[in-house]
Symmetry: C2
């Protein structure tokens, strides 16, 4: 019998506070990522080129956004595709992020 396989792990979303969500957004690089994803899904490589940060650093930032349920990822060949989570993206009327506690409207 297999000893409880470590599950693909859809990163358990435990109740997250508003402060925690804002904290996840409160970083230039991560904001840049979110703004990129507001115009549609992107591969890490593409974001990486535009942002000009180290690959590993971007990866860590992406993890923060994932844990805050702001973005989600998906394999695409040997690349990985990122997008805003459906809850956040919702309608994407204009530049509005639907965070649980509040809405963030990037007027730009």
């Amino acid at each position: 019998m297999s000893p409880t396989k470590p599950q693909p792990e859809t990163e358990v979303n435990q109740p997250i506070t508003c402060a925690e969500i804002l904290k996840a957004l409160a970083d230039e690089t991560r904001l840049a990522v979110v703004r990129q994803l507001m115009s549609g899904p992107k591969h890490v490589g593409e974001m990486n080129r535009q942002l000009g940060v180290e690959q590993t650093l971007l990866s860590h930032h992406l993890r923060v956004l994932r844990k805050a349920d702001i973005v989600e990822s998906q394999r695409d060949g040997k690349a990985v595709l990122y997008r805003l989570t459906p809850e956040v993206d919702s309608k994407r009327r204009g530049n509005v992020l639907e965070l649980g506690c509040c809405r963030l409207d990037f007027n730009g």
Copy 2:
């Protein structure tokens, strides 16, 4: 001649990034303060009683909000009155904070 008096110092507002503003908001206590001030100006003592944090700690948090130009203070007798800055408060239609880079809508 008086040797350059230390000026009342309206806390110089240097160009502030969106990430910095969000960082200032990304804290439970500071969010609570902002939410209180959305219903009008308050004295430190009143906020302090409702929040139940140490006086000195609240004071530090208020400083963060002041430096981000989210709130401003004003002496009122021996107390101090806090309010949202006019730029942030602007219309205050609903629960919307007008930060420079974006708008924050507390749907609650």
